[in-house]
Assembly symmetry: C2
Homo-oligomer: 255 residues x 2
């Protein structure tokens, strides 16, 4: 499949307050890279219907898919479904199959909680896996729960939709004992040499478990172009050292 | 000072690729809460001039300040200054005081690196502290480096601008052995009782080091309103247990 452009939106006052640190966006970013999708942006917003609606209305038309996470649940501060409905100018409708599923769970849920959980934007599709509560998709917006364990499980139900044949490959090289300030021009020339097919990132001292002076990251969807760029880089910096693992996945998780 | 509305923008392909996990946005979010500012949204975008320009153009008019972090430096992939200049329809100008400062550092920097580092959007203000490289501010956009140590240091130079007399206070209570599904209606009634002055967040099992069934977070800028809300909450849930520390700072860092 062709490369998909994606936006992630994370809903939750608790993230904007700095009280908890996000784990969902970084997880999804990593999975999307593995799958070969093109993550364009991540936005964190508060639990407000108008803000969710504005964000979905802006991002949905200019990305293949939007992953919208958090703010789903039975309480008054869970307003993601309302926000999506408003974005698409539809109402919320209570879906009988969801009501039936919630009753079948056997937990003694109050009717109010069932009503809220079963109400989703009109025209939304359900992604159903066995007897789990379905994932909800309205147009190109996938709605995911904010609880990390649930988010990860549900994302995998439809992760295959984001798989691309043109997955990115990357090579990371360390240029030791040189400051970015000193080699900036050489790197700029190199970026011109490798051309637009290969992206060349330059990071001073801040990635990974070891602390080299400078890290150069080459990324491309065409392995042959990546190989050519790597050769050019090694010509420019003969003492550059490649991160073990070579092309493809890196072995560390970053700072 | 009155409460300021803030947007944070983090620039960097390395964050969208999931290769490294952000520490800057969560740090700034925490500091802004301590200072009493109102953080409205956080956006992560790639190292592209057009994307930076679009984001600044959209966020600058509807927030008191924008904190724009990363993509500053001498290499070809550092394009934040270009993005800000484009957003405000101005060019980059080389500032003689920055050139002089870079020369005075005594490091042997290539002229190209000096030219790039000294070129900032026309009309930008410099926030100068001793002989450090200044922080740059264009209109209401504060431009910060992406290297966490430098970002934290520079933010403190002007952090006082974000201090509000109406700082938020909060109380966190645990309601044990009750599922959010079961108490959703009671919480919704409580939210109505406490009124719009107090924000009431409800979080299932996912905050903090211990794992209660449900965590309720009350936040307000008026301590008396917070106290009234807490009394109402304890009436509704007599067995609710308060997180040690009471009003004000919480003692844990979240998940």
């Amino acid at each position: 499949m062709a490369v998909k452009s994606i936006a992630i939106v994370i809903v939750g006052d608790e993230l904007l307050s700095g009280r908890i640190r996000d784990v969902n966006a970084s997880y999804l970013a990593q999975r999307l890279r593995e799958l070969g999708s093109d993550l364009q942006r991540i936005e964190f917003i508060g639990d407000q219907v108008s803000m969710i609606a504005e964000t979905v209305r802006r991002l949905s038309p200019c990305h293949d898919s939007v992953l919208l996470c958090g703010g789903i649940g039975p309480t008054h501060d869970d307003v993601t479904m309302e926000g999506v409905a408003e974005a698409f100018g539809v109402g919320l409708v209570q879906r009988p199959e969801l009501v039936a599923l919630l009753h079948a769970w056997g937990k003694k849920l109050p009717e109010g909680a069932i009503e809220r959980l079963a109400s989703i934007p009109d025209g939304a599709e359900l992604i159903t896996v066995e007897d789990h509560f379905p994932a909800v998709m309205k147009e190109n917006v996938f709605i995911l729960p904010g609880v990390p364990k649930l988010l990860r499980a549900k994302f995998e139900w439809f992760a295959h939709l984001f798989r691309s044949d043109e997955r990115s490959v990357e090579t990371i090289l360390f240029v030791l004992e040189r400051s970015e300030l000193v080699v900036a021009e050489a790197i700029a020339r190199l970026a011109e040499t490798v051309g637009p097919e290969v992206s060349l990132g330059s990071y001073p001292q801040r990635l990974g478990p070891i602390s080299p002076e400078l890290q150069l990251v080459l990324t491309a969807r065409n392995p042959a172009a990546l190989e050519r760029a790597k050769t050019a880089l090694l010509n420019a910096f003969p003492d550059a050292r490649e991160l073990s693992g070579g092309q493809g996945e890196t072995e560390w998780d970053g700072v």
